[in-house]
């Protein structure tokens, strides 16, 4: 199984909103799984999405989403990743965007986001999937 899609903070925030945007994200995740692959969320993006809401239920849903039995793999920020993520964070602020771009580069995956403009300095345009 390979990781084909990375969800950034904007995608995770849309997921926890539980509206039609969340539904579109769910459709994409189901298709990726159907193809025998995985969807992942970088840990810093999960933290940022968690901080973006104070709703206890939404926070629980987010953490369930990336739990062991959830629909999305949680990507840790490993010690070996820190130098590259730090370098990316020179142009990608805040740091969770650097982690998301790093994950897309590392896995050769598409970055699923509502914030394309933030990533275009570091990622090829065709590595970004507009949600």
């Amino acid at each position: 199984m390979s990781i084909r899609l990375i969800l950034d903070t904007s995608a995770l925030t849309a997921y926890i909103a539980g509206d039609t945007r969340a539904l579109h994200i769910g459709e994409l995740i189901a298709i990726v799984h159907e193809g025998g692959n995985n969807v992942a969320a970088p840990a810093l993006c999960v933290l940022a999405a968690h901080q973006a809401t104070t709703d206890t239920e939404q926070r629980r849903e987010l953490l369930d989403f990336v739990a062991d039995a959830g629909d999305v793999l949680l990507l840790p920020l490993l010690a070996d990743d820190v130098p590259d993520v730090a370098e990316l964070s020179d142009t990608l602020h805040p740091d969770q965007r650097a982690h998301a771009a790093h994950a897309a580069i590392t896995y050769g995956a598409l970055l699923a986001t509502y914030d394309r403009a933030h990533y275009t300095r570091e990622l090829p345009a065709d590595d970004i999937l507009d949600l």
């Binding site: 084909r4 899609l5 539980g18 969340a22 539904l23 579109h24 769910g26 459709e27 994409l28 995740i29 189901a30 298709i31 990726v32 799984h33 159907e34 193809g35 025998g36 849903e61 959830g70 629909d71 598409l110 090829p124 345009a125 065709d126 590595d127 999937l129």
Partner: protein, 82 residues
Amino acid sequence: MTRKISISLPDDLAEHLDNVENASAYIAEALRRRRNADRVREHFAARGLIITDEGMARAREKLRAAEERQRQGRKARAEGSA
């Protein structure tokens, strides 16, 4: 652990399996993919978000087009740097 079971398949699928090296592994992989996709649908349904076949079809086309653009982009960059 594995379990031996007997199943019935339409002729065309049975013929397809005749040409597959490890039919059990092939079927297990297909089932695993379907189960994982079904779990996503169940998890979203529990939140009141119903993933329909039409929605899946739209997402499939969107992802297919994006992956094709990604492949073409990588090919062009590789040729440009050669």
